[in-house]
């Protein structure tokens, strides 16, 4: 349900948190922060705080889930009970099941799954605090975790949403904009292949508005991609420094 009472864009064209329509929230990315995981990353995007970790490649267990022609990616997107306003039961909701599926579908195209038959990797995304756009932020972090695990990738994957609030197409909706606004379009992109691997929409947009939102989301993706590269670089520079000591 979308309500229309609140004023989401002020007279100066700025949003509730002072952003311009095409402005991202502040993003913080860290790679390799969970010692036990084979790969891991942490993202803050506005007030979103999300961890992603990868275990594998490894033998599939149970075995009947293995595939003779490719690696299997299992994905669990999950919200901590304290990540949202009303405490969420830790049992996976239908929403979490669906998001786990679309995130998996958004990442598989970037992995050379056909090169590692019979193996599997487990991806876990934990939302510690949610503020709108968690699936996109989760994908952005997950791609870094997969890269850190040393799993060969065609390209990184980066995700960002655009949408419509108060008749304006805006980038990277925060929680209130998502709930009260009139449309939300999350998009995931393999930036060098120009391939869209996640696309969903909620709300109502005419075809022109949709195209505008899609293009804005893609722009957002490309900006975040630069930060992803930076985060990976930082990680490996640090690593090199550690090794050189």
């Amino acid at each position: 349900m979308k309500k229309k009472n609140k004023k989401l864009i002020d007279k100066k064209g700025l949003r509730m948190d002072g952003r311009k329509p095409d402005e991202l929230r502040s993003v913080k990315l860290e790679v390799g922060i969970l010692p036990n995981a084979d790969g891991s990353a942490y993202i803050e995007m506005g007030k979103n705080k999300i961890l992603a970790a990868v275990y594998g490649p490894k033998e599939m267990h149970p075995k009947h889930l293995a595939r003779s022609d490719r690696m299997v990616l299992r994905c669990r997107y999950h919200m901590a009970p304290f990540s949202v306003q009303e405490r969420k039961s830790p049992a996976p909701s239908r929403r979490e099941v669906e998001i786990s599926k679309v995130i998996r579908d958004s990442l598989v195209p970037a992995i050379f799954v056909e090169n590692y038959p019979r193996t599997g990797i487990d991806l876990f995304i934990e939302v510690l605090q949610a503020d709108g756009g968690t699936r996109c932020a989760g994908i952005t972090a997950a791609a870094l975790a997969i890269a850190e695990a040393g799993i060969p990738m065609r390209d990184l994957v980066v995700a960002c949403a655009a949408g419509k609030v108060d008749e304006t197409i805006v980038l990277d909706l925060m929680d209130t904009e998502d709930k009260v606004g009139s449309a939300d379009v999350p998009v995931a992109l393999m930036p060098n292949l120009n391939a869209i691997t996640l696309l969903q929409m909620d709300g109502i947009l005419n075809p022109d508005e949709f195209e505008e939102a899609l293009n804005l989301a893609l722009k957002g993706c490309k900006k975040i991609y630069e930060m992803q590269r930076e985060a990976l670089k930082t990680k490996y520079v640090n690593l090199k420094e550690v090794e050189e000591q």
Partner: protein
């Protein structure tokens, strides 16, 4: 289907597609035959059965009274559930809905909810206390591909066929009275699914096409021709250009179906 047979099948299909042909002689943008029956479950407040080729979906609507959600005290409740009934396919197993069934239910739900087809305020009996709950149960009876479009169509058809119980409020308790009033829909969203196979876009994939497709996109179109829900699925990708093509195609096919349905 084992990997090697699948590869041969895929090759055949790709050769056909490169000539603009499909396994069942349809054109790339043709739907299979659509048959719709409404009201076949008299016990339910609404019902509809859709055949999309050999895909068969039955939707039943049940109306109950219940409490509103705390954050929307003056709104009724819409609940969409999908069961991949095990008699519909050797691949379906008994048990609670898995991710495939949940995705279908949520995509159908989104099409109805976001198009504002149902005026949930009208389902409110007494704000904060009693509201109507509309249960949309999607029952897949035979699976031959494109369950999303068939389910979405059957759900809207069943809602169009739904009668709401009359009621009175007496001393703060709701009393269901004789007779019914039809549920009116403010929109009739139509969902169109387009699969990408070997870089070609094909409308309404049948099961064999789904088994080899790269990915699919499902787009719900409302009465005004606007988009009210999108879901990309499958372990592949689309280019920006393909997305544009797909949205255009979806709008055309939705209008075509709308005309056929008389909506």
């Amino acid at each position: 289907m084992t990997g090697s047979i699948a590869k041969i099948k895929q090759k055949q299909m790709e050769q056909l597609l490169s000539k603009g042909k499909r396994l069942d002689d349809r054109g790339l943008t043709d739907y299979r035959e659509i048959t719709l029956e409404q009201g076949i479950i008299e016990r339910a407040e609404g019902s509809a059965r859709v055949f999309l080729g050999k895909t068969e979906i039955l939707v039943g609507i049940k109306i109950a009274t219940g409490k509103p959600f705390p954050d929307t005290p003056d709104a009724g409740v819409l609940t969409v559930n999908c069961e991949l009934v095990p008699l519909a396919s050797p691949d379906f197993e008994p048990g609670p809905p898995g991710e495939k069934a949940i995705e279908i239910a949520r995509v159908v739900d989104r099409g109805i909810r976001e198009s504002k087809a149902i005026d949930v305020k009208k389902l409110c009996i007494k704000a904060g206390k009693n509201v109507f709950v509309v249960f949309v149960d999607v029952y897949v009876l035979n699976h031959d591909g494109n369950l999303i479009d068939a389910s979405a169509l059957a759900a809207v058809a069943a809602l169009l066929n739904t009668k709401m119980p009359n009621y009175e409020i007496e001393d703060d308790t709701v009393k269901i009275t004789q007779g019914y009033t039809p549920l009116t829909l403010k929109s009739r969203p139509i969902t169109v699914t387009i699969a990408k196979i070997n870089d070609k876009l094909v409308v309404d994939p049948q099961l064999k096409e789904e088994q080899v497709m790269d990915s699919r996109i499902s787009i719900a179109i409302n009465d005004e021709g606007s988009i009210c829900a999108i879901q990309k699925g499958g372990a592949g990708y689309f280019t920006t250009q393909q997305i544009k093509e797909a949205t255009k195609l979806a709008k055309e096919k939705a209008e075509e179906i709308r005309k056929k349905m008389g909506w």
